[in-house]
Symmetry: C2
């Protein structure tokens, strides 16, 4: 069964990939070049995939090809939005690397990176407006507003080593969950779902997004990938859920060691391993994983009373995959 699912997902991803390429159509080659660099840098395409599957969950199989095109075109706007935030994040964080290769700002400089970020953002909104759908525009503008406020909050929290779990969840809600929630809600709207169903998909996306970011933050410590991204949060002194949980029950000595390591401007591999050991010993990783699992369960619960079909199975399959992924 998994093999069958993976095959279908693969074919959806191929269509998304083609669509992503087709709509990067600025008349100015430089804009396309920088955009393509960030868009085609090995992203998982989870956002557009969720939009497509959420739409198809409510649609019959024999769809008008024009409407299918509309669905894919809309799905990619979330990838453009996401890419825009990555470009600005990298400038804000002075990031050297992104997904194991040079960050765009490291090639074209901060100036171009800021402005191409603005371009991708504008492009996403432009694609949204082509739908001429007031409800979708409402979801998307609300989403971008929440996200942009969240980015500022995250910046203000940068040196807050005593971030609470609630504050952390507020940050990841705005940073990740709001957008993934919008992907699913907009998919449902495109699928012609009724209001109750749209709300369920909105919540499904929210819980999935929270779990997704918690797993991401876990993988920053535990990923099997050994790219330059591993330990990025640690190096930047960013407090994430594993640290928050560990600090709760760690001894005074462990707490001080962990906090000092996080505050250090330059850390090496040994420091990283020391931090990992303290977090591990104080259940930071297992509890984070449990929390992610809790959200995945809430997400799957939202789907319970929705039509039973292939696309529902796929959404559940993806939820489980996002929890168990190793990179």
């Amino acid at each position: 069964m998994d093999k069958e699912f993976l095959k279908i997902i693969k074919s959806e991803l191929d269509l998304i990939e083609t669509t992503l390429k087709n709509y990067l159509d600025s008349q100015h080659p430089f804009i396309n070049q920088v955009s393509e660099y960030i868009i085609f840098s090995g992203g998982k395409r989870i956002r557009p995939l969720l939009t497509v599957l959420s739409a198809k969950l409510f649609l019959s199989e024999d769809l008008d090809s024009n409407y299918l095109e509309t669905i894919y075109r809309t799905s990619i706007l979330f990838e453009y939005l996401h890419a825009a935030t990555l470009l600005h994040d990298d400038v804000v964080d002075s990031a050297e690397f992104r997904r194991g290769r040079k960050a765009a700002r490291n090639i074209w400089g901060n100036q171009a990176t800021i402005l191409v970020g603005d371009y991708l953002y504008a492009k996403a909104l432009r694609l949204a407006s082509l739908l001429e759908n007031i409800k979708i525009m409402d979801v998307i503008t609300q989403t971008t507003l929440l996200m942009s406020e969240g980015e500022v909050l995250q910046l203000l929290n940068l040196d807050n080593f005593f971030l609470t779990e609630a504050q952390y969840e507020e940050v990841i809600f705005r940073k990740t969950a709001v957008l993934i929630s919008a992907c699913c809600e907009v998919g449902a709207i495109l699928g012609g779902a009724d209001e109750r169903e749209c709300l369920l998909l909105k919540d499904f996306g929210k819980y999935l997004g929270l779990a997704f970011q918690i797993v991401d933050d876990l993988l920053d410590y535990l990923s099997e990938e050994t790219g330059k991204d591993l330990g990025k949060d640690f190096k930047e002194g960013k407090v994430t859920l594993p640290v928050i949980y560990a600090l709760k029950i760690a001894s005074e000595e462990e707490k001080n060691t962990l906090l000092n390591l996080l505050k250090m401007p330059d850390t090496n591999k040994k420091d990283f391993e020391t931090a990992k050991k303290i977090i591990e010993k104080n259940k930071g990783f297992t509890k984070s994983k449990e929390r992610a699992k809790h959200y995945i369960n809430l997400a799957k619960n939202c789907l319970k009373n929705l039509p039973n079909n292939l696309y529902k199975d796929l959404l559940i399959f993806i939820s489980d995959y996002l929890l168990e992924r190793k990179k």
Copy 2:
């Protein structure tokens, strides 16, 4: 008559000022603080003013107060959009000053400035979507896309000392005229204008915007204000219309001197005066002024066949003012 006009404009500006303040309503004081700093830094409010007047041009005097509120709320989104581009521009240009005082980035740093710029952009789009008007969303998303591409183009042209007049006009079209055009077109839509009338207001705004930027670039050399902004373009080595015209007829020696001065990383007051003299002698200023006048005439021409009323007179009055202003 002028006094009467100024009085009416003043009362419109007061309403705009209040509305600008009311909608800066982020729950996070820091976001409001940075936003207010850039929004309330002595801007002329020409964009919201044009939206309000363009709407009223087509409306009867006894307007529903809710609808009036909608018009003012919509007008300010253009000021938020404009402020967002200023924040990002200042980061991109490493600007120290803006409108005679410290640039926001000089107080809160590049990071916060980029992110609050994103916030103001999102806020503007959010205000637009509240109208639930597909046509207006279409205008605004098209506008922001053109503008953001233009910003990248401008960056790529930074070291182009042989900018042609056509290239210059493309830059100022995207940088300034597109947004001012949108202000007027959206105003007309809000006023219930028909398609032909909306198009006329769109063109009116475009020509007015082109003239506005040409005058702005002229004032960079000739302003009576002696703030730290004077000669900003010159210091940055930015080629604007006065330089383009002057280079056309200058002697080989003058050409070299002017280009060398523009290319110099550090220039003093004497250099600035030398450049001004070369531009003046080679008609750079007078021809630029003529060009601005040409666009103001085109702008006023667009209004010819529209209803004759106070608001048309005010739009003409403002067009003349923008041409003759000294700062």
